[in-house]
């Protein structure tokens, strides 16, 4: 380890260190990162679909989706670019609810989004109360640059897995790398193990 001469750091005393994964810093801002222009899909054109290795695909339009039972999780989020944000509150539909009644033997899921973005996750990481399709943030509609109208929310993994502008979950037998995963980012992305890049 190289000691950086003269570096003391600006440690925050108002943050419980046990809530901050290694290599992360806590910010009050909500930085935006995305690989391309922000899509602006009309709600009348918006659908959400569960497809792939399922007995029968299911989908919802915007109004039907909002009518599904929702939850308001308050969670900490961790971006691979090093910022973490604590106690963010969302409203969304639990993925468990969406998969209710879907028969599948798949082990993985590939999320598809407006703009062509994809990301891959093990199915067990978005079930069991661990993930939502979120459409509100801090009590208001989710802003387009933050993934609105709806994004995947999987707070226990690095935030690139919480795909913005999500439109479909494709259940798969194999773990197919998504967008950032093909560009050298980690297939799984556990912030507590600092799985940022391939090989971590």
């Amino acid at each position: 380890m190289t000691i950086s001469r003269g570096f003391r750091g600006r440690r925050r005393t108002d943050v419980d260190p046990a809530r901050v994964p290694p290599g992360q810093y806590v910010t009050g801002d909500f930085p935006v990162l995305s690989a391309g222009p922000t899509p602006h899909t009309r709600l009348s054109d918006w659908t959400f679909e569960i497809r792939g290795a399922v007995d029968a695909p299911v989908w919802w339009g915007w109004e039907d989706f909002l009518a599904l039972p929702s939850e308001t999780p308050t969670v900490d989020i961790h971006c691979v670019t090093k910022w973490s944000k604590l106690d963010t509150t969302w409203r969304g539909v639990p993925v468990d609810t969406l998969l209710d009644g879907v028969e599948t033997a798949a082990g993985y899921v590939l999320a598809f989004c407006d703009g062509g973005y994809t990301t891959n996750l093990p199915l067990r990481d978005i079930t069991g109360g661990k993930a939502w399709i979120a459409y509100e943030y801090q009590g208001g509609p989710l802003a387009p640059e933050h993934g609105g109208p709806a994004r995947l929310l999987v707070p226990h993994l690095y935030f690139w897995k919480s795909a913005k502008w999500v439109r479909a979950l494709e259940l798969r037998d194999d773990d197919e790398p998504g967008f950032w995963e093909t560009y050298g980012y980690h297939m799984y992305g556990d912030p507590w193990k600092e799985q940022r890049y391939r090989g971590d």
């Binding site: 000691i3 990162l33 670019t81």
Partner: protein
Amino acid sequence: MQLVDETARTRSIVLDVPAWAGHRAGQHVDVRLTAADGYQAQRSYSIASAPEDGYVVLTVQRLDDGEVSPYLTQELRIGDELELRGPIGGYFIWEAKLGGPLFLVGGGSGFVPLRAMLRHYLAVGGTVPLRVLYSSRSLPDVIYREELIRMREDHGLDIRFTLTRRQPTGWSGYARRIDLPLLAEVAFPSGARSLTYVCGPTEFVEAAAGGLVELGHGASGIRTERFGPTGT
């Protein structure tokens, strides 16, 4: 190591990295600082040099409430060691084989990775049509100012500036934030299927990338990189 003050708030750190495996223009590195008691902080910084330059340059903008950038811009001295990881990133890159026409749009210190692309373009004798738009608050805030003006004069590159807050007397460039008419004037026609790289603060990227889409440019030809807070 060499330190170059580019503007009042930005400094370039020219690094001699042993066993550097090379990088592609547009990639970044993670810089990790370690205090004497083991406390660590890390941040990502774009590489400002071209792969052909033979050294690695990071241009860092000082954020007053930052943790790493004040150290890198004010405390770091020649002879100090810096812990780097990288290069990282494989999407926001341009290399000659990706072709063009190439449109580089930078806001503030978001110009840093585009400078790597520009230097790469010149180093490989780039032939695809190139246009560059750099938005800055004022002329003294333009990073690599003299180099860019030289590129314009010596190589005839189409590099244009817009100064959003203060303009020098007799300024003949643009003098406003990026908007649709400005983009329509500077960008290639939408039918040219150009490859566009936009980097800057979020509102800047929204205006530039969103504006190009509104003008009929295909979203798949626009690559973005954003930094900085959104304030929400």
